[in-house]
């Protein structure tokens, strides 16, 4: 029988019985995710290759290598967390449906960055080694790995306050910090090249990843709210303070990373500008979690409106239209 126990049911091996839905928002996320389906090879990269040879400075190339060296492995860390840390515990069928869909998307992102890394003439060894060799990337990875490890520790019991607090930390750490702060900072940096009409193929992929991540983030915020509703006792001032500290730690990791990414300014971008954006995004995330903004700083990258916010009309013979969606209602 379908239990009404909420996000966590007693038996994780119970087969999925979807209807009636308990979390219609989760099902809505699944439906939209399907429509957003894309594949890396749809983004042509030959212009990017030309940009790499003819228009990017050595500093810019290096920064792009760091970016790829960060995104590629981190996407797969999300996959692991979804499947190993969250899926065993979250048993509501529509939630699980979304988790596996998201896991597929993260895998798709990994493949997308592989596709870029294997097409652009980057130093592949350096890119693939970034996770170990580049301290600022390694620090971010360690932060995430720790959160997954906390759940995988033997003896985790979700019926205890400690267990639930740990679970909440993981949700916030992945859905809000990694997907909502680390990735957004990376997107902004990548999009700064498109402002100069550079790396348009890579940025088509970024458009798609960003659309996916917006959905993950939205799902994450919904999930966290549902979790807090079902377990109001977790929402203590202590816990909220703990989450705030976690986000602030992440902000400082990201600031360090950006300083290593851009030791010198490049055209239209420098580390402090990007870090201003990180603080702005962090504020937004803290507000979404209901723990109040910290920095109250304005968005220094106003041009992101042009890259992300406004509707886009594509001159069809000149650029890839990313706006078609697949799937349709049945007759």
């Amino acid at each position: 029988m379908r239990s009404a126990q909420g996000l966590f049911s007693s038996n994780p091996l119970e087969p999925m019985r979807l209807f009636p839905l308990r979390y219609p928002w989760a099902y809505a996320h699944v439906q939209q995710a399907k429509r957003n389906t894309w594949f890396p090879e749809e983004a042509p990269l030959q212009d990017d290759v030309q940009d790499w040879h003819e228009r990017l400075s050595p500093e810019e190339r290096h920064a792009v290598e760091i970016l790829l060296g960060f995104f590629n492995p981190m996407e797969s860390m999300v996959t692991s967390n979804l499947l190993m840390a969250l899926y065993p515990y979250l048993t509501a069928p529509e939630i699980r449906l979304y988790l596996v869909r998201q896991a597929w998307e993260e895998a798709n992102h990994t493949m997308a960055f592989e596709y870029v890394i294997k097409t652009l003439p980057v130093d592949r060894e350096r890119v693939f080694g970034m996770l170990e060799d580049h301290p600022a990337v390694a620090a971010k990875a360690a932060f995430q790995r720790q959160l997954t490890a906390e759940i995988l520790q033997p003896g985790l019991d979700l019926s205890t306050p400690t267990g639930r607090r740990r679970f909440l930390r993981n949700l916030v750490g992945f859905f809000v910090v990694l997907e909502g702060i680390f990735f957004y900072s990376g997107f902004a940096f990548a999009l700064s090249f498109r402002r100069r009409n550079l790396l348009r193929g890579l940025n088509t992929i970024i458009d798609w990843v960003l659309k996916d991540e917006s959905l993950h983030l939205s799902f994450g915020i919904h999930l966290i709210q549902a979790f807090l509703q079902e377990h109001p006792e977790v929402r203590t001032e202590d816990m909220m303070e703990e989450l705030r500290e976690m986000i602030l730690e992440a902000v400082s990791l990201e600031e360090n990373y950006n300083r290593s990414l851009l030791p010198q300014p490049i055209l239209g971008m420098h580390a402090e500008l990007l870090n201003g954006y990180v603080r702005y995004v962090a504020d937004r995330r803290m507000e979404e979690l209901g723990i109040g903004a910290q920095f109250h700083s304005p968005n220094p990258l106003r041009w992101l409106a042009i890259e992300i916010d406004l509707p886009e009309q594509v001159n069809f013979f000149e650029a890839r239209n990313v706006n078609y969606e697949i799937g349709r209602p049945r007759q």
Partner: protein
């Protein structure tokens, strides 16, 4: 990377800002942001690019930054090309032509002009007419560059003059005509098509926009056509080609006693070919493949643009279009059967239209049912089911475009010259082809809003004059053109087609207080097109008196005293049903007099085609073609970058009402949709729907009323807010009924967008609209949710 002298960098920035003559506060803000971005630490050239980045980043907040960006870019181009922000064209221009010719960038015949006389006519003030997006596009791709160093050689005014000279090369009084062309073009009253702007006056003077050809059913010809397509694409021509004759998969191949792999692998081959040609980075090679929907492989054709599946069965770069005969639409209406044939057994259908096609098609059906055709060579489907599949593919991939074979052929003024086997790349050119003739079309478009008088009305005398000059330019181009293929020269010299179009219709309507939803917009489309058509025909008749009619004039509809409007009756007769289009005329144009003159001769086999003007309208700073504004605030994504655009008339009105500062953030939040912005008075909101808020039927009415007067076609984009196949089914049927020759892109509004970066709309209290929509849907009947679910999960 880092310049040594910091103070030097700052001094340079200040000097640059002063030269723009922008208001002081804007200059101060630009300088402050430049320092914040550490631009003064960059090399001068990069610093200047950085200033532009700052200015363009603000355009969405306030369009006055657009002027700042344009001023900066103009300075940059002038300095790069002439070395001075205020060049003395009288000495500079003749020198430019001479060195340009020496470097091999310009055509040597330009030296035959009286260069000093032309230079004196150059008006530097006209640079100010160009919007930022126009300047950026010119700078990126249109201005002539040094063949070796790739340095830009000409500023915009020199470009206009170069184009004008190229068009006047063969005129007896070449200076006078160059000056006339320059006058019209540099004031943006009309613009020739992109290939003409690229290549006129250069050694590779390929001026035509479109080439249309057909592929025959033999490997020899498939390869031969590929070679022609490659050469045409190299010189900036877009290609349309009928591929219906290519035999279907499984058909016998006699020469090797084997079986054919069919149509799709050859289309994949054309896709790879066209993808490999990027026209020196200025434009991508482009080609549209047209298929008639009775081809046995039509279903595989519908999948060509899907993003999943065997990559060898896909064509990511090739555009696809269906060339639909009336019989198909009739059978959809009647819910009848539809028969698919292998062209190996039914190939002559390609060369038939109207009644003739119907008889022959029905005959093949009989043969099939009687067992007289090989069983593998035909198949029966339900017409409606195929129609739904077509529209589903269109909605999900934007392809195939829906075009109509019979109305294009029955309304052709060149019926005596052969069958039109497909349209061109942009679905507005309708010309006959055969194995020995590649159809060609030269295009130019009149800018309506540059013909507004101070009292807000159209200056018809000026408009008529512009049409006359533009048409002469088009006729000249036919003789001047560098033909990449002999079959193209042959066709073009026999038919001498011209394709005059227009741009700025949406801006004009907005300035007249109308939206496309108002019935008056269709009235205006009708009256304006009648005027343009009348004067285009008149101009071509005048050219015939001076230069003689086109060689194939005898036997053409023109020679029988027929005019485009008369041919609507031919469509009705062939269909046996009325074409519901208003037939009224303005009443102030002497069509009967013109009819008599046409009977005696016309210079051009065709005179009009309404092209999309996707790029030249950006250069001219107005709305493209007869298309509506996509939104009131949106980004246009082109090969040259991403550009913010406002509906200029809305901004003017909001400023006058003192509302601009208050609502601009709301405009970003709403993606340019004003309907929900309560601060804006309702009558104003109603005037500014986004493209998705215009009823598709209203767009069809405007197009049908325009098509009435146009001898070739109209490129018609359609926009759908809902993702409802039923709505699309109705709209495309209606488009056919109203006698349209073609539709073009089908835009559907994405349900979901990425989380906005600059406006806060995703706060925990607010739920994304699409989540609420799905939740509401589920509440209505949770049990049947699966039936409502999309096909992908079945």
């Amino acid at each position: 990377m880092i310049a040594q002298g910091v103070s030097h960098g700052e001094a340079l920035l200040r000097r640059w800002l002063r030269m723009t003559e922008l208001p002081e506060p804007l200059q101060v803000q630009l300088l402050a942001e430049a320092q914040e971005s550490m631009l003064d630490r960059l090399e001068p050239f990069q610093a200047i690019e950085g200033l532009l980045l700052i200015a363009t980043a603000h355009i969405w907040e306030d369009p006055s930054w657009e002027r700042a960006a344009a001023a900066l870019l103009r300075q940059r181009i002038l300095l790069e090309t002439t070395g001075s922000e205020d060049p003395d064209y009288i000495s500079w221009f003749p020198q430019y032509i001479r060195t340009g010719v020496e470097k091999g960038a310009l055509h040597p015949d330009l030296l035959r002009f009286d260069l000093e006389r032309l230079a004196r006519a150059i008006d530097p003030q006209r640079d100010a007419l160009l919007p930022y997006i126009g300047l950026a596009t010119l700078y990126d791709r249109y201005l002539v560059r040094d063949p070796e160093s790739r340095q830009v050689l000409e500023p915009p005014q020199a470009m206009w003059m170069r184009v004008a000279m190229g068009l006047a090369l063969a005129e007896a009084d070449r200076e006078a005509w160059a000056l006339r062309f320059y006058e019209r073009i540099s004031t943006l009253r009309y613009l020739p098509s992109t290939p003409t702007l690229f290549n006129s006056g250069t050694p590779h003077h390929q001026l035509a926009s479109c080439y249309v050809y057909e592929v025959h059913d033999s490997l020899d010809h498939i390869l031969d056509a590929a070679s022609a397509f490659g050469m045409l694409a190299k010189y900036a021509g877009g290609i349309g080609a009928s591929v219906t004759r290519i035999r279907a998969v499984g058909a016998p191949v006699r020469g090797i006693n084997g079986r054919s792999g069919g149509l799709i692998p050859f289309l994949h081959f054309y896709d790879a070919l066209i993808h490999s040609i990027n026209q020196g980075g200025r434009r991508r090679g482009t080609m549209a493949a047209y298929l008639e929907p009775w081809h046995l492989e039509v279903e595989a054709f519908l999948d060509l643009r899907r993003n999943a599946g065997d990559p060898y069965q896909r064509t990511p770069s090739l555009d696809t279009a269906l060339w639909i005969p009336d019989v198909f639409m009739e059978r959809v209406l009647a819910d009848g059967d539809w028969y698919l044939f292998d062209p190996l057994v039914a190939g002559d259908l390609v060369d038939r239209y109207g009644e003739d096609f119907r008889r022959c098609y029905e005959d093949y059906i009989e043969q099939a049912e009687r067992g007289q055709l090989p069983r593998r060579a035909w198949r029966k489907v339900r017409a409606r089911e195929l129609y739904r599949k077509i529209l589903a593919a269109l909605m999900e991939t934007g392809h195939p475009w829906i075009t109509f074979k019979d109305s294009a052929n029955l309304r052709s003024m060149l019926r005596h010259a052969g069958v039109i086997h497909s349209l061109n790349l942009c679905t507005e050119v309708a010309l006959p082809t055969n194995r020995d003739e590649i159809a060609v079309c030269n295009l130019a478009s009149v800018n309506l809003v540059r013909h507004l008088r101070p009292d807000g009305r159209l200056d018809e005398a000026e408009l008529a004059r512009t049409v006359e000059i533009a048409l002469r330019g088009l006729d000249n181009a036919i003789d001047l053109n560098l033909y990449p293929d002999e079959r193209a020269r042959r066709s073009n010299l026999l038919n001498r087609p011209a394709g005059l179009g227009l741009m700025g219709f949406a801006e004009l309507m907005a300035r007249w207080g109308l939206s496309f939803n108002d019935p008056e917009a269709a009235e205006h489309a009708d009256r304006i097109l009648e005027f343009l058509s009348y004067h285009a025909i008149r101009a071509s008749v005048a050219l015939a008196r001076e230069r003689g009619p086109f060689p194939r004039f005898d036997g053409s509809e023109w020679s029988n005293g027929r005019l485009p409007l008369d041919t609507l009756a031919d469509v009705e007769r062939a269909r046996g049903r009325p074409v519901p289009v208003d037939r009224s005329c303005r009443g102030d144009l002497d069509w009967e007099g013109l009819r008599e003159e046409v009977r005696r001769g016309i210079r051009n086999g065709t005179v009009m085609a309404i092209a999309p003007t996707a790029t030249i309208a950006l250069i001219a700073g107005t709305s493209p073609s007869m298309d509506p504004y996509f939104s009131n605030l949106f980004v246009r994504s082109t090969l040259s970058g991403r550009f913010v655009e406002f509906h200029p008339v809305l901004v003017e009105i909001l400023r006058e009402l003192g509302l601009w500062e208050r609502v601009r953030e709301r405009l970003v939040e709403s993606q340019g949709d004003v309907m929900g912005i309560a601060e804006i008075p309702e009558p104003v909101r109603r005037r500014f729907p986004t493209a998705f808020q215009i009823r598709p039927e209203a767009l069809l009415e405007i197009t049908a009323r325009a098509q009435k007067w146009v001898d070739m076609g109209i490129s018609r984009n359609l926009y759908f807010a809902a993702h409802s196949p039923a709505e699309l089914e109705g709209v495309y049927l209606r488009a056919w009924e109203m006698g349209l020759k073609a539709t073009y892109y089908c835009y559907t509004m994405p349900r979901m967008r990425a989380e906005p970066a600059t406006v806060a709309v995703n706060k925990s209290a607010q739920r994304p609209r699409w989540v609420e929509a799905v939740e509401a849907e589920l509440q209505e009947g949770a049990a049947c949710a699966l039936n409502e679910a999309c096909e992908a999960c079945q």
